[in-house]
């Protein structure tokens, strides 16, 4: 119920005319079923008039048919038109709900992505608006017709009451048993669907994995097709088993339903015949009540189906509602919070006693980590895979929240900073950054508008200009071919240059975090980056994460991370002199080069 009201609120918000359409449609569809039950009855009545009244009967017939023509055509045209138009509006509302959901998942705190329940909730909300027939779509569509059907049903009920209370009671009993059995069938179908859904979804996943061009190489090279097939066959088998288990039970209920209808037909006609023979009703009424019952049963079934559907879809849609209410809360929380004072120098970063572990896991990725990065300092962060470097970057980016401890920028806990102030002070190149299927320009500026001068400067500094030049339309070339047939894909190294340009374009930031920005760069490009690193990052505090330990030489200090804490800290030469973990790793990497030169 709450979900239905919520949806009505959304409908009112996005398209008020739909409410009027529902009202109008209900009125027309309430009248419509009576027309062709009533008119024949009247005509039969006319035929019962004595033969001398023929001309009067003729006039009445003409009038009757003229009225019927006007009413029925108005109804028929309007109902069809409204249905189509309303359906379109339903889709429009649905698209808007999808858009709202998009905004929601893009703005929610990144740490939510660690929360499986949250991700499931989003997935469910998506399902609730995904297709036009279920969830939001189904609910909106059914709302259009349910009221009219209800009113018409009430109309028929009053007709029956006028005839006989017992007949009414009988029809009610038939309807109730219909309702009961239909619900049983519905439950069975639901349980079948609940069983089928996961299997179909798994199949869907496998099919889209096979259709996704990015995994094609691996499937082809390793003949993974057979493996896919084996899984697919198994899921097909499961589907068949589920269907078989349901189909028989379903049919026994349907048999019961047919039996009830059989009793209904027999009793009803018996009754009418008796009334007629007793002289209570004439042929016209015989016809009228006979066809009324048929029409009423159909209506009642429709009504029950609609109500079931509404309940189902509303339940389905409440998944969306659960999320969206929160979305409003997020939207309101944008610029509130403290603002970092702008200075020409970089940020002073203090990491105090920070611990972090991923939700639902035992292992501490970072444990009581303490580290201060001085104003304007170039610091390198090194360590083995899994030592917590990337996690630290995510914590500094405020994408994750420390489980214990705090992180201060210029003495202020970053949690207290306003979103806009925080973002404007920070640039990050993430290790697993992605390119968007938009133009190069948009990929760098990450905004529909760009500052030309800054764009070219950033591209130059990131050595990306030469890449852009080889593209047909320069910076306006679309990347990837997903949305544009003339799109261009970039190699790993080119992508890294683009991401660096993205970070540099941001310009005014005072803290630069780089996570493995050179992994895919060729040696010359790498050296180029190192050479210009200082001038590129002037006025910024920077943290450079790299597996290439040579990159540490141009940094002021090196922090060596091991098992979630800073194991060694100092300049490159200090750490070399110390002969510890850092030295060990460095020598390992340097060895080959030394030998290579010696040869």
């Amino acid at each position: 119920m709450r979900a239905t009201l919520f949806l009505l609120k959304k409908i009112r918000q996005y398209d008020k005319s739909m409410i009027a359409m529902i009202v109008f449609f209900s009125l027309l569809s309430a009248v419509y079923p009576f027309i062709w039950v009533y008119v024949p009855m009247r005509i039969i009545r006319l035929s019962e008039l004595p033969a001398e009244n023929f001309s009067e009967a003729g006039t009445q017939l003409t009038l009757l048919l003229a009225a019927a023509a006007v009413v029925s055509m108005t109804c028929a045209w309007s109902l069809a038109f409204l249905r189509g138009n309303y359906r379109m509006r339903m889709n429009n509302v649905r698209y808007r709900l999808i858009r709202d959901l998009m905004r929601y998942s893009l703005t929610m705190p990144y740490e939510n992505t660690l929360n499986k329940e949250k991700l499931d909730a989003i997935q469910k909300a998506r399902e609730a608006v995904k297709n036009p027939w279920n969830g939001a779509g189904g609910l909106i569509l059914t709302l259009l017709q349910v009221f009219g059907t209800g009113i018409a049903a009430v109309g028929f009920i009053s007709v029956f009451i006028s005839l006989s209370f017992w007949l009414m009671l009988f029809v009610a009993a038939v309807i109730l048993s219909n309702l009961f059995i239909n619900r049983k069938v519905g439950d069975l179908e639901q349980s079948e669907w609940d069983g089928l859904m996961p299997e179909l979804r798994k199949l869907d996943h496998l099919f889209s994995e096979q259709q996704d061009p990015s995994g094609r190489k691996d499937i082809l090279s390793y003949s993974l097709y057979g493996l896919f097939k084996a899984y697919i066959d198994r899921y097909f088998q499961n589907i068949r088993l589920i269907q078989q288990s349901v189909i028989r039970r379903k049919f026994s209920w349907q048999t019961a339903l047919a039996a009830v209808d059989f009793v209904k037909d027999a009793v009803l006609y018996g009754w009418l015949i008796r009334l007629f023979l007793a002289g209570t009703i004439d042929a016209a009424l015989f016809f009228f009540y006979g066809s009324s019952v048929v029409a009423f049963v159909a209506l009642a079934q429709q009504l029950m189906a609609d109500i079931t559907k509404i309940r189902q879809d509303a339940r389905h849609f409440s998944d969306f509602m659960a999320l969206d209410t929160e979305a409003d809360a997020i939207a309101s929380d944008g610029t509130s919070g403290l603002i970092l004072p702008r200075t020409e120098k970089g940020v002073l970063v203090e990491i105090k006693n920070v611990s972090f572990r991923y939700p639902g896991t035992e292992r501490w990725v970072l444990r009581h980590l303490n580290l201060t990065i001085r104003r304007g300092e170039k610091m390198a962060l090194v360590g083995e895979n899994g030592s917590g470097k990337t996690t630290l970057i995510l914590l500094l980016s405020r994408l994750y929240r420390p489980v214990e401890g705090e992180i201060l920028f210029d003495g202020i806990n970053i949690r207290e900073l306003s979103e806009s102030s925080f973002r404007s002070n920070l640039s990050v190149v993430f290790q697993d950054a992605m390119i968007l299927p938009f133009s190069i320009r948009e990929n760098i500026a990450m905004s529909p508008d760009t500052d030309e001068k800054r764009l070219y400067e950033a591209m130059d500094n990131a050595s990306f200009s030469s890449v852009a030049e080889t593209c047909t339309q320069g910076v306006d070339t679309t990347l990837l071919r997903i949305l544009d047939d003339n799109g261009v894909d970039l190699s790993g190294g080119e992508r890294q240059k683009l991401f660096l340009a993205r970070a540099l374009y941001k310009g005014k930031s005072r803290l630069l975090l780089l996570d493995e920005p050179t992994a895919a760069l060729d040696p010359l490009a790498e050296q180029e980056l190192y050479r210009h690193y200082h001038e590129m990052t002037s006025g910024q505090t920077s943290l450079f994460v790299s597996h290439r330990l040579a990159s540490t030489q141009f940094c002021d200090r090196v922090a060596f991370l091991s098992e979630g804490r800073v194991a060694e800290l100092g300049s490159h030469s200090e750490l070399i002199a110390r002969d510890g973990l850092y030295r060990g790793l460095y020598d390992l990497q340097a060895k080959n080069y030394r030998e290579g030169i010696a040869e």
């Binding site: 019927a68 698209y95 199949l203 269907q243 950054a433 905004s447 080119e494």
Partner: protein, 623 residues
């Protein structure tokens, strides 16, 4: 209707009994209303005439029984048809995804094919109510014929009148069909884009950058613009189609009015009995309804046909080659008998179909024995959308048993060369030969067995860990395969990690298919990919930057493994860490799409060219 028929024929092939059930259901649907048209007439006539109670009871019983039988038959048939349709829907998807694997990679990445793929999904989706529509068509045809007979028996004029009144509907339906076609044409690409934006928003790999760089407005503006476009197209479509649908509805009403005028007058003139009046009225109404349903369902089927056109088109797209025998088998998806067969593991070393040419046979046989002599001659390639030749008259050789390193700056064409060697793309010019045979002549499946490639952007699939390595389903895995896979995991130092997982080697990769699945970290994933390559045991090993994401210790470790892996094998590897190239027998330096230097490490250092510059640039950081 030919696309629809093609698809129905495909469905019938794996859903035995689909066709006759559809026909039977149509018959039942068509005949059922007759009971309620003929019998009440008898009843009314009897009431107004003989008033014989026994006859009346008999008639009422017949009516009730007729309805009972019709309903039971209909439910029985429909239940089966519904389950079959669900399966047919999934099977069609399976056929499409198998097809997708056979389309050349260069094509399947293009917007044209991606758009077509989106329309294919529309088409498959339209199969959801195929059974209902066909039933409606068949039912209304049956119903129409019998009702026409009834109306004709009462009044031939009336029958003609009804037919004439339905002619304008045909025109409206034609209009509607055009509108549908136009709508599909216009919205497919937009809708795919919108769906894509929606999926981007929950692909959280994008959200870090979108957040920190305020990319929200960029994404939302794009999506909004796209959405508005969809709404506009929708609005036009539904307004117009609503209008025409309304006209059709009104025509039905006009028909009723005319029928009533006709029958009413005759009733008043006592030319008809009341019973005949109700029957003819019922029959006319049914006739109108049946005509409408007929046209409507025919229209729907034509629309389906139109929706299915992309599907047929997609299935007819040019294929790279007959990829593998078992996928041809897959074209008739798991029906009945070959279910058992499909599970069986493929033969470890594939043997030739008889049609293979002698020289190709010889070449492959030698290759499996470990003799691989590669030559790349004058190879040129550009990406379908690119205007620059990424490879430009590139020539090189790789000798049997040699370990070759490929070096070059970013964008020089290294990875592209590898992709061509793997035959993911096809060159515009030039030729690659293996043991003197153009590789394009070697059946792809055999060719795949020769190669063991590993890439930086490897893909692992949501199967069990060991299945990912062995490429065979666990139940069907031979001892030998299993040992090889476990050995490979061990070799790459993954044993301890895999053991720590809940189901050991049988733990699923990712949660897609199993709730307790696990996603490996970057390093572990990369090692898994290498293990897969090791277990695959192709005699030609290719590695494209497999260590870029690893720390120095893992790198060193993997590098040792790579050396071991390529021991006594012909191998090609790409790395930007030139410390590793030293171990290559020969180094090829690529620049601007062709080889500019080649030789051993010492030779190239002495040459003082690009390689030396690159090497010194990197080495200088370590001295």
């Amino acid at each position: 209707m030919k696309h629809l028929l093609t698809v129905i024929r495909m469905i019938c092939r794996f859903q035995r009994g689909y066709a006759w059930r559809l026909a039977a259901a149509s018959l039942v649907t068509g005949a059922a209303p007759l009971v309620n048209i003929i019998l009440p007439r008898r009843m009314i006539d009897e009431l107004l005439g003989g008033r014989d109670i026994r006859r009346l009871i008999l008639l009422a019983a017949l009516l009730a029984l007729g309805n009972l039988a019709a309903m039971l038959l209909d439910r029985m048939l429909t239940n089966r048809l519904t389950t079959m349709t669900t399966l047919a829907y999934a099977h069609m998807q399976q056929i499409v995804s198998e097809k997708a694997l056979r389309i050349p990679l260069a094509d399947s990445e293009s917007k044209r094919v991606l758009d077509l793929g989106e329309r294919v999904h529309f088409g498959i989706y339209s199969l959801h109510n195929l059974d209902a529509t066909v039933k409606k068509l068949g039912g209304s045809a049956v119903s129409l014929l019998s009702v026409i007979a009834i109306v004709l028996s009462g009044s031939p004029v009336l029958a003609l009148l009804i037919l004439a009144l339905n002619l304008p509907s045909l025109y409206c339906l034609k209009k509607l069909k055009h509108l549908d076609a136009d709508n599909v044409e216009r919205s497919a690409s937009e809708e795919r884009a919108f769906k894509y934006y929606a999926s981007l928003s929950i692909d959280y790999r994008y959200s870090k950058d979108l957040k920190l760089y305020d990319g929200l407005s960029l994404m939302m503006t794009r999506a909004e613009k796209n959405m508005q476009q969809i709404l506009r197209v929708n609005h036009q479509y539904f307004t117009k189609s609503g209008f025409w649908l309304g006209i059709i509805g009104s025509l039905v009403e006009i028909q009723s009015v005319v029928v009533f005028a006709f029958l009413g007058i005759r009733l008043l003139l006592s030319r008809l009995t009341v019973g005949a009046f109700t029957m003819l009225y019922g029959a006319s109404r049914q006739m109108g309804r049946a005509l409408n349903n007929l046209m409507d369902s025919a229209n729907e089927l034509m629309t389906s046909d139109m929706y299915l056109k992309p599907l047929v088109e997609y299935l007819n797209l040019p294929e790279q080659q007959d990829i593998r025998q078992d996928s041809a088998e897959g074209r008739t998806p798991p029906g009945t008998d070959h279910e058992r067969r499909s599970g069986a593991p493929a033969p470890a070393v594939p043997f030739f179909a008889a049609e293979g040419d002698d020289d190709v046979q010889k070449c492959v046989r030698e290759a499996f024995k470990g003799h691989l002599e590669w030559e790349v001659k004058d190879l040129s390639f550009r990406y379908p959308s690119g205007h620059v030749f990424v490879l430009d008259h590139c020539s090189l050789r790789i000798h049997s048993g040699e370990r070759v390193a490929l070096v070059g700056t970013n964008g020089a064409g290294k990875s592209t060369l590898v992709k061509l060697l793997c035959r993911y793309y096809e060159q515009q010019e030039g030729v690659i030969t293996l043991n003197g045979v153009d590789i394009r002549r070697i059946p792809l499946e055999l060719y795949g067995a020769l190669l063991s490639p590993t890439f930086q952007d490897y893909h692992l699939f949501p199967f069990q860990m060991i299945e990912n390595v062995a490429a065979v389903k666990a139940e069907n895995m031979s001892e030998d395969k299993r040992d090889k896979a476990i050995h490979a995991l061990d070799k790459l130092g993954l044993t301890a990690w895999v053991r720590s997982l809940k189901h050991g080697v049988h733990t699923h990769h990712s949660e897609t298919l199993a709730e307790d699945g696990v996603l490996p970290s970057g390093g572990e994933g990369q090692k898994m990919a290498l293990a897969r390559s090791l277990a695959h045991a192709g005699p030609f090993v290719i590695m494209d930057e497999p260590t870029a994401a690893l720390d120095p210790r893992s790198e060193e470790e993997i590098f040792r493994q790579m050396l071991a892996l390529s021991e006594q094998k012909t191998s090609l590897f790409i790395s930007h860490r030139l410390s590793s190239t030293r171990y290559a027998d020969r180094i090829l330096v690529i620049e601007n799409g062709h080889v500019i230097e080649e030789g051993s490490h010492a030779e190239l250092i002495a040459l003082s060219g690009l390689y030396a510059a690159m090497y010194r640039a990197q080495a200088s950081q370590y001295t």
